[in-house]
């Protein structure tokens, strides 16, 4: 089985400056909150939305003498993520301290993994449309602690600190500068989010800040990037700026676009881009400098002496590998191959693992394409309209499968099937029983149809004349018959009979 579909590489985005064309080079650092009930180094809960400072262990508050103890589950989640990104798993990794003062950082340092991350190089295939995808290399994934939250707007003179998030496990997923445009950057985050959700290692909730990213942007002239890739020499690329803490796909695109144009304007004006950290202001649609180089932190990284190097065993990694789910690329490729779906439809159906599972339940033993149409057009359309998730769907896969079975057996027409779907949506019930009980069955009894056809022909001699002169008009009789039978007559049977009765030949 293919683990992904064949693809070609998209063209990089080109922005026309006042003087020349420019390309973008983008790398992302995504901070994904590890899906875990407990924090990275304490047993405190990670529940979102708790009372301020309700989920704080002594070590989270950096009480004197308290020590961190690694949460094995978080390590397993990072390994699972690494395996999902086809990455190198480092059996020995280590934790370092990143030192800086801030009230929401009680220890005065963040425990992170600078020198020896748990996950090394991997990749993500970022779909940019049917048959087009960008392969983005992952440089590393490391585990680190999240900080708390400072609240400045509760009191005019005081600031408050909520430590609930302090010490929650994050995975920092660092890409290579392989992303070549704002759309690709957003698609990269989307694809990564999809994989993390498939793996169950991060819920991907961007609104709650459970997935956020820092975006590194630089510009270069066409051709320069290829030289960089050939040589690995960063001097072919422009000076980069880092846009911090983005948690919306839309803002990511807007910020990159703004930032690229800002840099182009500076360079075309004869100036030089200054390497710095910037923030995106969505209200004004611009990025602005956060701190300059002079104010830049010296984080004084050094190995955390409270933690021994993290040693894991290959057998443990193998156990995790054995429980890996089918990932989006493989699932999509399989849907195309096994169900004859288009890449587009397969992509829609595999966006979420739950959707794909629903589709597979509907499609099992049935026509895949028809199942895809019904799931995408009827079910997803209706769910979207009402803002429901697949888990809340009033129509189950078994019910929808029942509808398809009735169509397949010729018991109901496509039109009646839609009515049936509506009944299932609002009232529920067993599709076959509903059809039976409410007389929705398609009439294939030629006797009954013949009676109706005869009656219409007898009542409309003028139309008969016209139709005999112009056989295209025979459709009018079919319509009348269907109307008279409440849509239950099998249209093919009616067509055939009308033609025969009017003597229009085979």
């Amino acid at each position: 089985m293919l683990d992904h579909l064949a693809y070609r590489t998209p063209e990089p985005k080109v922005i026309a400056g006042a003087k020349a064309d420019w390309e973008l080079v983008i790398g992302l650092e995504v901070h994904a909150q590890v899906a875990s009930n407990a924090k990275l180094f304490s047993g405190a809960s990670t529940t979102f939305g708790s009372e301020p400072n309700a989920n704080v262990a002594f070590v989270d508050a950096a009480m004197p003498g308290m020590l961190p103890v690694i949460n094995e589950f978080c390590v397993a989640q990072a390994v699972r993520t690494g395996l999902g990104l086809k990455a190198q798993i480092n059996l020995t990794s280590a934790f370092d301290r990143k030192n800086y003062f801030y009230p929401d950082l009680p220890q005065g340092y963040q425990i992170s993994q600078l020198y020896h991350p748990i996950v090394g190089e991997g990749e993500i295939i970022v779909d940019m449309g049917p048959g087009i995808a960008r392969r983005v290399r992952i440089e590393r994934i490391h585990l680190e602690q999240d900080a708390g939250k400072s609240i400045h707007d509760m009191d005019p003179n005081m600031s408050f600190v909520d430590l609930n998030r302090t010490g929650v496990a994050l995975m920092e997923i660092v890409s290579r500068p392989d992303i070549r445009g704002p759309e690709e950057a957003a698609a990269y985050v989307g694809k990564l989010r999809q994989i993390l959700r498939y793996l169950g290692t991060c819920d991907g909730n961007m609104q709650n800040g459970n997935l956020r990213c820092d975006v590194n942007v630089s510009i270069c002239r066409p051709g320069a990037y290829e030289k960089f890739i050939e040589t690995g020499d960063f001097s072919y690329l422009g000076i980069r700026c880092e846009i911090k803490n983005m948690n919306s796909m839309r803002f990511i695109q807007q910020a990159i676009d703004y930032e690229a144009r800002r840099q182009i304007a500076i360079v075309e004006d004869g100036g030089a881009v200054v390497q710095e950290t910037r923030l995106y202001d969505p209200d004004r649609g611009e990025t602005r400098s956060m701190r300059s180089k002079e104010e830049a932190h010296d984080y004084r990284y050094f190995p955390c002496p409270d933690l021994l190097p993290l040693e894991i065993e290959q057998a443990w990694v193998d156990d995790i590998a054995a429980t890996m789910p089918e990932l989006p690329d493989a699932k999509k490729a399989r849907f195309v191959a096994d169900f004859g779906l288009t890449e587009y439809d397969a992509g829609v159906l595999t966006a979420e693992a739950e959707n794909a599972a629903f589709f597979e339940a509907v499609a099992a033993g049935r026509d895949g394409k028809q199942a895809a149409n019904w799931v995408i057009n009827e079910l997803f359309g209706r769910l979207n309209k009402q803002g429901l998730a697949i888990a809340d769907s009033p129509v189950s896969a078994a019910q929808l499968g029942g509808v398809l079975d009735l169509i397949g057996a010729g018991e109901i027409s496509g039109k009646i099937a839609k009515d049936l779907f509506e009944i299932l949506w609002t009232e529920g019930g067993d599709p076959a029983q509903i059809v039976e009980a409410r007389g929705m069955k398609q009439v294939t009894d030629t006797g009954a149809i013949e009676t109706a056809v005869d009656a219409i022909i007898a009542a409309n001699p003028a139309q008969v004349e016209k139709a005999r002169a112009n056989p295209k008009l025979a459709g009018w009789f079919t319509g009348q018959v269907l109307k008279a039978t409440g849509g239950k007559a099998n249209p093919a049977v009616v067509n055939e009979m009308v033609a025969r009765k009017l003597g229009l030949g085979e």
Binding site: M63, Q107, R300, F302, P305
Partner: protein, 492 residues
Amino acid sequence: MSLNELTISAARDALRKGDTTAVELTEACLGAIEGAGALNAFVHHTPEIALEQARGADARIKAGDAPAMCGIPVGIKDLFCTRGVASQAASRILEGFRPEYESTVTQNLWDAGAVMLGKLNMDEFAMGSSNETACYGPVVNPWKVDDRRLTPGGSSGGSAAAVAADLCLAATGTDTGGSIRQPAAFAGIVGIKPTYGRVSRWGVVAFASSLDQAGPMTKSVRDAAIMLGAMASHDPKDSTSADLPVPDFEAALTGDIRGKKIGIPREYRMEGMPAEIEALWHKGAEMLKDAGAEIVEISLPHTKYALPAYYVIAPAEASSNLARYDGVRYGHRARLGQGDGITEMYEKTRAEGFGPEVQRRIMIGTYVLSAGFYDAYYNRARKVRALIKRDFDTVFAAGIDAILTPATPSSAFGLGEMANADPVEMYLNDVFTVTVNLAGLPGVSVPVGLDARGLPLGLQLIGRPWAEGDLLNHAHVLEQAAGFVAKPARWW
């Protein structure tokens, strides 16, 4: 002999025989503490807790459940967090801090039936060798020459003074570069720093995490064996705690060291070493030889780099460990002026809260970790540390069982004597002890004699990792041979 003068082992026997009670022992110590204000050893008194624990211990003894330390009154260094009791590492910055948790070591002691008399003075955050950096003021050594007030050493100076002055039967100490062994030597008592990882660091205020280790300070080697057994445990809450069984250290005190090889490291024969120290060292070696051990001259070639490496690594870790004292959540917070923001709050709080020595080490540590200097200082110091460890591995692999060195370069010096000296002069106190912390080895200081002025002098024995029992057996032999029984004359 008053009850407070007993050793742990003698008190244990008396308690078991019913000759005395834990309450009587405790009351004797509380009385001694009350009369010893001049020593400034106990800085937080917990008589209610002590008597309640003593009554509980007596009940246990009566019921036939008397673990090793049952009913033994001890003092606790202020560095240990004790639930509901002030625990402030002798620093103003932890003013008013009463933890809601109990350190693993003290919990182990209470579980073994020990009785807490109170908290003991120390150098601020365990940074010092004379107990003069404490926010409580200095501890005075019960040993005296003429009218001069002497230091008990540091940082566990309160513990050393309290044990030497019989204010308690024993005390906890901590040792990052010699903070148990140097004051033990200055006060004529026994102190052991166990192998790194033998004793949990959970709940002990951190100075330099990769070097810190708690240990007992006692009146005899046997007591050190008993108390270490009670303090030690594998603690899942401390990732650097070793998952090893705690052996019966007392059972290891056979007194038989025949055929053992004792290393005498030539690099410890420092230039300008006082003749008295040299003579004591030689005398110690003779004693071990007379007991049937073989004396072997050995080389630990990287010794001279140990002190500089230590004074890079320890401040580096300390600068990070002490970042949490920021006035935000607990302890001291400076009064802020109009318009002061978070930066001013940090600066004023830490300037007021930390004494000069702590500030000096935070600055050194910050400097050696900073961009551009990290490799030159911190990384190089780590490499030196690895070489020092290798020196020890090599001699142990060659069959050396224990290494004998002086514990300190001198006997106790006068309080205030080093006030105007270069700080490095003070750091030289640790010259014989820091190697042991850098290598993570167990080391014990044993009182062996008095100098010409009548002040105690100690020798240090260094053992193989995890072989504290064997090490204490060597110390026991040395102790028996030396027959050190001198006590400070009471003046306080």
